[in-house]
Structure formats: C-alpha cells, structure tokens
Symmetry: C2
Subunit: 246 residues, 2 copies
C-alpha cells in the first residue's frame, strides 16, 4: 500500500539537494499568477529541475499542462491525509498547488549539463545569407547594413537597389503573414521619417506568403521575394532520412 507520509521527506529532500526530480502522480492542479487555471484529477508527469523550474505534462500532447519558472520554491506536505505540492514564486507573484491522490513512482538524480544548443536556419542566418548573396533579394541589390536599430524596431537588412533607392528587407523564416507586412510597413515609414526620404522601397523575403498578405503587400507597393532559410546540416540529415525510409 502506498502512503503519503513516507514519501514527503524523500521528495522534499530531493528538491533541497537540488536534484532533478521526476514523478508520475494522479492529481488536480490549481494555478494563479498572470492568469488562473484549474484542472481536474488525472495522471501526469512532474519534473522539478535543480533551478526550481517545474513542468507538468499530460500523457499526450506537445505543450506542458502547467509550469512554473526557475527560482520557484517547492514544498510537499500532507494536509488532512492528502499529499500536496505547493509551488511559490514570490517575485513573479505566482502560485501553484497540486492535490495528489497517488504518486505512481518517483526518481531523482543530480544531473550535469553545461552545454548550449546550436540552432541553424534561423531568421538571423537568413539575413546573413542575404548580405553575402544579395542577388537573392534582386538583381543589382547592394546591402548597406544589417540589423539597423530604429526607434520602432530592428531592420533586418537595409540596402540600395539598382536605381539607388533605399530598400528595407524584412526576413521571415516561415510563411509571411499580415503582421509581417505591417512590420515591414512600420520600418519603411520609420526610415522615411528618420532619414527624410520620400521614396523608400520595402521587400519581404520569406519561403512563401499568404494570399491576404500578398494583397496588402501590393496595396502598399512592396515586393515579395521567395527565399528559404539556410540549412547547413541538410546533407547529413538527408542521408539519415533516406536510411529511415528504406
């Protein structure tokens, strides 16, 4: 038979020792902070990290059910013979309480990982590629600066077209939508005002663009250019994919 009391100190000790704690539990969860949430009893996976971060997952789905940021303090205790986990982040004014009817299993361990992930094919990689290969934007395009700061935001690539007209290029690594067009529009307007130039072009560089965004782009006299974000590891992975298929 499972008993709440005998687990409380083990769980609290694991947290105090700053181990990485994982457990499966049947529980209901209440949260309050930036918003408020409640979920009825079900079986979930809990992960408490060494920095105090808490992540709760249901047995399906990509996103966590509930979570608490790093530097949250956690306390297991028994109240009216019921095990509870109370997680408090004072600075963020956030609170989470799990009412646990059963712990199905738990384990904790000191984990070491000082590595940082490297991601390629980002929007930044894209704008770098356009700086190096300006012909991808259009014939005769000459980049002037990258990531130019304006009061109203960053400009990915600023350049001059073949007719010496100042041109703002906004990159999107995904299918460009309405907000991408309004963002470009915002930059073009800002450059016009700050530089005192009436004729500034806007180019949106992305793999593709939605129909409505294309229409709004045309309404504002801007141009779409189809560009894919660079993927330097593609060859390696194509081989892997083929091995998976056959």
């Amino acid at each position: 038979m499972w008993s709440a009391e005998e687990n409380v100190s083990l769980l609290n000790d694991a947290v105090l020792r700053r181990e990485t704690l994982v457990f499966f539990a049947r529980c209901s969860i209440r949260y309050s902070g930036r918003a408020e949430s409640y979920v009825e009893e079900g079986e979930r996976v809990f992960l408490i990290k060494s920095d105090g971060a808490l992540i709760v997952h249901q047995p399906t789905g990509n996103a966590p059910l509930n979570y608490m940021k790093p530097d949250t303090s956690h306390s297991f205790f028994v109240e009216n013979n019921i095990l509870k986990l109370k997680s408090t982040n004072i600075t963020m004014k956030e609170f989470l309480e799990a009412t646990i009817s059963k712990i199905l299993f738990f384990n904790s361990e000191k984990l070491n990982d000082g590595q940082t992930i490297i991601v390629q094919g980002t929007e930044e990689d894209m704008s770098e590629m356009l700086m190096e290969r300006p012909e991808l934007v259009e014939e005769g395009f000459k980049p002037v600066s990258r990531e130019e700061q304006t009061k109203y935001g960053f400009v990915d690539v600023l350049g001059i077209d073949k007719n010496d007209v100042l041109t703002v290029v906004e990159c999107k690594r995904y299918c460009a939508d309405l907000s991408a067009v309004t963002q470009l529009r915002r930059y073009v307007e800002k450059i016009m005002v700050s530089k005192g130039i009436a004729n500034v072009r806007g180019i949106l560089a992305a793999p593709k663009i939605t129909e409505n965004a294309q229409k709004m782009l045309e309404d504002w006299g801007f141009k779409f250019v189809s560009v894919n974000p660079p993927k330097y590891l593609e060859n390696f992975n194509k081989k892997q994919a083929k091995l998976d298929f056959f």
Copy 2:
C-alpha cells in the same frame, strides 16, 4: 555495470505499448526539420508520451532543449556498441537522433488523463467583461458586437461612442506594444473600407502600454484605456498567497 543492449528492448517495448516513458540520459542530440540543431553531450531528461510526442529537458531552464510533435515514431538501437534513439516524423519531415553514452535510469507506465485545463483571465474574458461593463471603455460607449470574425476581421469589441461614432476596441491582456497598435490600425482601416465610413475610432484596452506604442497610438488618433483582465479565482489565491508569506 550498465549495458546498452539489455535496455534496448525494454525501452522499445515501453514505446510500443504506448506507455509514458521517462528516462535520464547522458547524450548528444541532433535535430533536423524546420530548422537544424546540435548539442554536445550532457545529462538530460527524456519524456516520450503515449501519442509519440518527445520532450527533452536540460537540468535547468523552463523551455525544452529539443522536442518532437505527437505522432513521431521512436526507435532505440545499438550501433557500434553505442545506444541511439532515432525519432522520425515523416509527415512533418522532422528527424531527431540522440547518441546516448549512458542511461542513468528509466521508467514507464500507462497513464490515464482525460481532463482539460480551464484557464481564466484571458483576452476573451476581457472582451466579455467590456461587453458587460462598457463604462470601463469610456462613458457612453455602447457595444454592438464581439469577435466579429467573418465580416470585418477579428475585431474584439465593436461599438458606438456617445457621439454615435463607430469604435473598434482591441484588448490585450498584457502591456500593449507596437504590434498591438498596428493591429488596431489594420482593423480600423478594414472597417473604414468595408463600411465606407471615413470616421472610425480606435481604442486599445490593456493593463498598460509602452511609451513608443503610446506615441504611435497618438499619431494615429487612437486612444488608450487601462483595463485589467478579470481573475475570478483571485480571492482564493490571495488567501493562499498570504498563507505562504506568513
């Protein structure tokens, strides 16, 4: 001594039985799909869900290190005496490979959870509140419709002010930024065109607004109203907070 071979079938079986599998492992990870990533060897938490979702966490931080969507297929195998996990999502054209030098522990179990989380204090709750208490927008404001999606776009609240001028209200549950203003601007312009009315007002309702956004709002003749999203469970949690403090 730990041996790779003896764990392979246990791990694969757990996935095949659609259990929720969790394990700690020292590994490096390569991913390719929408982007590409690589991370050197470190100790991490793996979670494979019953629907095929994979989530990998480092021992600190809120966000996952790597992940794969539901309906990904997973295969553990030994290659050159090294344990590997290969995860493939054919439809999304995504691939992940973990090269595992050591499994520190693993456990799997069939978890049951059919519950759905309830969240309150959302933007939708906010616009509902403004429909019920229009005086929060401004004195004399009369709401006409909420969430008019089909005809005029995703306008949160559409109404008429005390001078019978058509007014678009855009809600934000957080501090309103530049994109909130451009979004409002887009809606106002759309309404002007579709209704053929030159005089349409725009109001941005949010807890607060950034300085630049305020300036842009004024440039476009729009108005800011400070409104907080409703939190119905606030009383319960205030009590909890006090108990935590003292």
